[in-house]
């Protein structure tokens, strides 16, 4: 699974930097590079755009994995250019932005919006597969998640808006409940769809989510 990001509109980025004349740019070599939102070429394109807007870009780098602890070292290695800047514009997911913020005293600004955690279903097509509800119900629904795949997260069958097997919200998107029905039928487990599914325990999603485990 990777973190899916999208570039913010340039006007929004420029507006967020209105108090900064000198900017240091950071991209990410992992998810944001795969998504063409914060790899080397996008960082260089952003540099050109900011310079065209009258900003001074004091330097840039693409950290292999911006959310990693090595970000601290990367910042230290480039301390001179970073120091000269009024702020850092981070072209990675929100995790990378927070990591940079943790290890730097400069104000950080995101250049990307973090959309979801997903996977590449076919080349160039990324989709959400899990919304991390903390109470996995895949066993009841033939491995298809109605929390993620149904626009309303319905647990007891489709709403009245399913048309031609597609979702009312997005006619390109299959109705999760038709998929669940077809797969349970193939598995010979259609009776299971008739069971009442009680309300979900949303306290499992109380934020901020944290957990303690014994380190390896």
């Amino acid at each position: 699974m990777i973190t899916i990001t999208r570039q913010k509109p340039l006007e929004e980025v420029v507006h967020s930097l209105n108090r900064c004349n000198k900017v240091y740019l950071i991209g990410c070599g992992t998810c944001a590079t795969m998504l063409h939102t914060g790899g080397k070429s996008e960082v260089l394109a952003m540099k050109d755009k900011l310079e065209a807007d009258g900003k001074k870009v004091t330097g840039w780098m693409v950290i292999p994995t911006a959310c990693d602890e090595l970000t601290r070292e990367a910042l230290a290695e480039n301390a001179k250019d970073v120091e000269e800047a009024d702020c850092i514009l981070v072209m990675s997911c929100a995790y990378g932005v927070q990591t940079v913020g943790l290890y730097s005293d400069k104000p950080v600004f995101p250049a990307l919006d973090t959309l979801f955690i997903g996977k590449e279903e076919k080349p160039g097509h990324f989709a959400e597969i899990c919304m991390q509800c903390g109470e996995c119900l895949l066993g009841q629904f033939a491995g298809i998640c109605p929390m993620t795949q149904c626009a309303k997260g319905l647990l007891n069958g489709p709403c009245g808006g399913s048309k031609d097997g597609k979702c009312e919200q997005d006619p390109e998107h299959d109705c999760a409940w038709i998929l669940i029905y077809e797969r349970l039928k193939r598995l010979g487990k259609l009776d299971e769809i008739k069971e009442f599914v009680p309300p979900k325990d949303y306290s499992k999603m109380d934020r901020p989510r944290q957990i303690e485990v014994t380190p390896l």
Partner: protein
């Protein structure tokens, strides 16, 4: 007699839908209530239909009741979490509202506040289960209530689902709704009584009263729009043709609706008229249907 007692006595009933307007002007609601009084057994009040922000269903139900018209409180799961749904149900009870219709609710993205956070904390089946618990004197986590509710819970079904799987899923969901307490059903709009009769045959053994939905056609465009966009609604070409050829579209649309009312009321336990802006014409449609 109340909706509950008529349906339980297996009598045929007519219900109609009332859609609150956007704003605080309640003159229209009052006029519609007066026109419907004595002509329908009960009036459903929609809950911010199509996710368009409007006057609330609960307050409007109360206004109808004040006018002597029995309300059906439509409650969607779109805008309220389980605390708010249960609290509004208690409020509805103390205001004397007896009928509640449980619905999932349209997606906010299709309405006039697409930026809204969708809730769907419960689904329509779970909401029916919650109503049953409140009727038994408990909230949904098992705390005892000081004074229980006494609701007559209803639900919806879409008899015209377009594929084998979609149709079977409608029946499965309908059975689930009955198992957790639905005592009557109102359907999505029906335009083909023969197809509806086949649906009725399938659900014969379910043992719950069903009211067939009727929407009066206002134009050819409306019919085509529903065929293209509204799940489970199929207006046959023959009716579209009739509308296309009609000089007086409104009269023809009302005439078609009256014929549907006449035919459908004999196939099931009654009809639910969803006039969508034509509420004041409901008495004329019922006149034409001989009711």
């Amino acid at each position: 007699m109340s909706l509950k007692s008529l349906l339980e006595a297996e009598k045929s009933v007519i219900t109609a839908e009332v859609g609150p307007l956007k704003g605080t002007d309640i003159n229209e609601i009052g006029e519609v209530a007066e026109l419907l009084l004595g002509r329908v057994t009960a009036a459903n009040v929609t809950d911010q239909q199509s996710s368009v922000m409007r006057l609330g269903s609960l307050a409007t139900c109360h206004l109808l009741k004040d006018k002597g018209l029995e309300p059906v409180f439509q409650m969607t799961c779109r805008d309220r979490n389980r605390l708010a749904l249960q609290s509004d149900l208690l409020s509805a009870h103390v205001l004397g509202i007896e009928n509640v219709l449980s619905l999932t609710g349209d997606l906010p993205s299709l309405g006039d506040h697409p930026q809204a956070k969708p809730v769907y904390d419960l689904d329509s089946v779970q909401l029916l289960w919650v109503i049953k618990r409140l009727n038994e004197g408990y909230d949904m986590v098992g705390n005892e209530l000081q004074g229980k509710t006494n609701f007559f819970p209803g639900a919806v079904v879409n008899p015209g689902a377009d594929s084998g799987a979609a149709f079977e899923l409608q029946l499965i969901k309908m059975e689930k709704k009955i198992a957790v307490g639905a005592r009557f059903f109102q359907t999505q709009a029906v335009f083909d009584p023969d197809a509806f009769a086949k649906f009725m045959k399938r659900v014969e053994g379910f043992g719950v009263p069903i009211l067939a939905g009727v929407i009066p056609l206002k134009s050819v465009g409306m019919a085509r729009f529903m065929n293209k966009n509204v799940s489970g609604v199929f207006v046959p070409e023959e009716l579209i043709d009739k509308m296309a050829k009609a000089e007086d579209k409104a009269a023809t649309g009302m005439d078609i609706a009256a014929n549907l009312v006449k035919e459908l009321k004999d196939i099931c336990q009654g009809v639910h008229l969803m006039a969508i802006g034509w509420e004041k014409r409901v008495p004329a449609i019922l006149d034409a249907a001989g009711l």
